[in-house]
């Protein structure tokens, strides 16, 4: 395929890739490099690409902003919790939508997508009094529920797509072989929809890990997540320590970058919504 492109086309493509790369990787590179610079070096112009790295910023983060690491712990709990919850629900939901078709299910499918299109805050704010009444304010559970709910509709449809690609004859073969519905689901269908599960889980995890707005509204202390501390870092009364902020941001980025890199195969498959090879 490559050889069929003409030279100008190839140049154009190279240029396009370069721009995209600068666009997406540039800011990350800037943040990561800055986190290893002294405060005075960060905003000098022209930026220094070669410098003597220092880990002072990271040390300062551990000594002066201990709360950041607790918050990262909270982020991890919330992100994992939401991932597991959304995973289970959308897996079972996708199965039901794919295998139990009726007028009711097709109608609710449309509704689920419709809800997803509303601005999340519109759906969420009315929850405030409910949350209060239930005493769920500032708890991990609440964020887990919110984040999972936010993704369940889309992930259910992604999973439905994956299930739809598995011929129903396979279910029937398993039933004839003596499988119960549960055995069919967990010994056969679960293995064949792994890619979808992986992709969906990454969406939820990354979203929950990065989310700021809901966390700000619904947590104050115990369940505070890392992005909130980062924003506090920025607004510190004694002036922003950019180096420390960038160190925090770098740490915050690590799991996301790792996850996306490790699972990019699944991610792309998930975005293409499902291809199970026979």
């Amino acid at each position: 395929m490559r050889s069929r492109l003409s030279l100008p086309a190839r140049l154009a493509r190279g240029l396009f890739l370069a721009v995209m790369l600068a666009w997406s990787v540039g800011p990350i590179l800037f943040i990561v490099m800055s986190s290893f610079k002294r405060q005075v070096d960060i905003f000098v112009y022209p930026p220094k690409l070669v410098f003597t790295p220092t880990i002072d910023n990271y040390l300062k983060l551990t000594t002066q902003w201990k709360g950041f690491f607790d918050a990262m712990g909270n982020s991890l709990i919330v992100a994992l919790g939401a991932t597991v919850l959304a995973g289970v629900v959308s897996f079972l939901g996708g199965y039901a939508y794919s295998r139990y078709r009726s007028r009711l299910t097709s109608w609710t499918a449309v509704y689920m997508i419709a809800v997803r299109v509303l601005p999340p805050i519109v759906v969420t704010l009315p929850l405030f009094p409910v949350v209060d009444r239930l005493g769920l304010g500032d708890t991990h559970i609440l964020l887990v529920l919110l984040y999972a709910t936010f993704w369940v509709s889309l992930n259910t449809m992604i999973m439905k797509n994956f299930f739809d690609q598995i011929p129903y004859e396979l279910d029937e073969a398993a039933y004839v072989d003596g499988a119960s519905e549960w055995q069919l689901v967990h010994r056969i269908l679960a293995r064949l929809t792994l890619q979808g599960m992986a992709a969906g889980s990454i969406f939820v995890f990354v979203f929950a890990w990065n989310e700021y707005l809901f966390a700000m509204i619904f947590t104050t202390n115990r369940a505070k997540t890392a992005p909130l501390i980062l924003s506090e870092l920025m607004g510190a009364v004694d002036g922003t320590e950019w180096g420390v902020l960038f160190a925090g941001v770098t740490l915050q980025l690590v799991p996301v970058v790792l996850l996306v890199t490790l699972a990019r195969r699944y991610l792309i498959a998930g975005l293409a919504a499902g291809a199970v090879k026979g």
Partner: protein, 355 residues
Amino acid sequence: MTDVRLSGVRKRFGRVEVIPSLDLEIEDGEFVVLVGPSGCGKSTLLRMIAGLEEIDAGELSIAGRRVNDLSPKERNIAMVFQSYALYPHMTVRDNMAFSLRLAKAEKAVVDEQIGRASGILGLAPLLDRLPRQLSGGQRQRVAMGRAIVRDPAVFLFDEPLSNLDAKLRVQMRAEIRGLHDRLKATTIYVTHDQVEAMTMADKIVVMREGRIEQVGRPMDLYARPANLFVATFLGSPEMNLLPARPAGSGFDLGADGRVAAPGAAAAAAQDLTLGVRPHQIALRPPEGADVTAAIVLVERTGAETVLTCELPSARRICVVAPGMADGRAGDRVGLAFDPAGLHCFDTKTGQALAA
């Protein structure tokens, strides 16, 4: 004793009655083929026997036990699907072992059964492969292996060969029949290919629109079709049909001439349809023949020659002559109908008349 009995079995999908009311008895160890045109309800019937489709009314019993309300796994059946439906993420071995493991069979039993099945089917070298690493014929065999490891009372096949090329189909046909002769388990086999039905079955069930048109041994159906549908459905090329009237000791074909049939005087003077298979028409010189026709098309397969001819009424008739028969398009020929091969049908009802 694993006989399968259906009495008054019905099935409807929404408002469409797919199987109006069907009775069928299948004896222990019999190889029964359900055959019929697409959409006639063969698969639906098979799936009802398997327990994959609910039975709306009537009774289904396997080995004397009513099984209407039992799940597939409680019916002691195994099924081979058209798409094979192998579990894509499992090796051949695991595909075959799946049902045994679900039944919590001992490992030694599982190994023994897989050894036996893979021996019968020649799967031993493929046991550790995944389905996607197999050819179509090999997948077919694995699907059969998955069925036989369980020693089921009844084997169900739904068009298992339709995804294979012609040559492999002939080979697997013989293999499945050979397998049956060896295991002697009751088998119900669905196909819309009449050659499969003729070559494999102990008993053929010809279906149309959810009804059974005729049941019987292949050669009985071929020699004595109960009606026009069965007559034209079985046999290739199709039986020729000609409108006729009884006349003396024979039949008057109107413009096309007459056919002598010494024994056939009994039929009442009515409109009937005369059927004759292409193999039971012989070519003669046109001079003095009762029926003459013009050759339109000649097809030679080597072993036989298939001639399409046009009668004076412009009706087409197919003749199969053994070996390399002479004749070219445009030639005139005389046709001699074998009196023993004549079939009479009531034109209105399509039912066979005693000839």
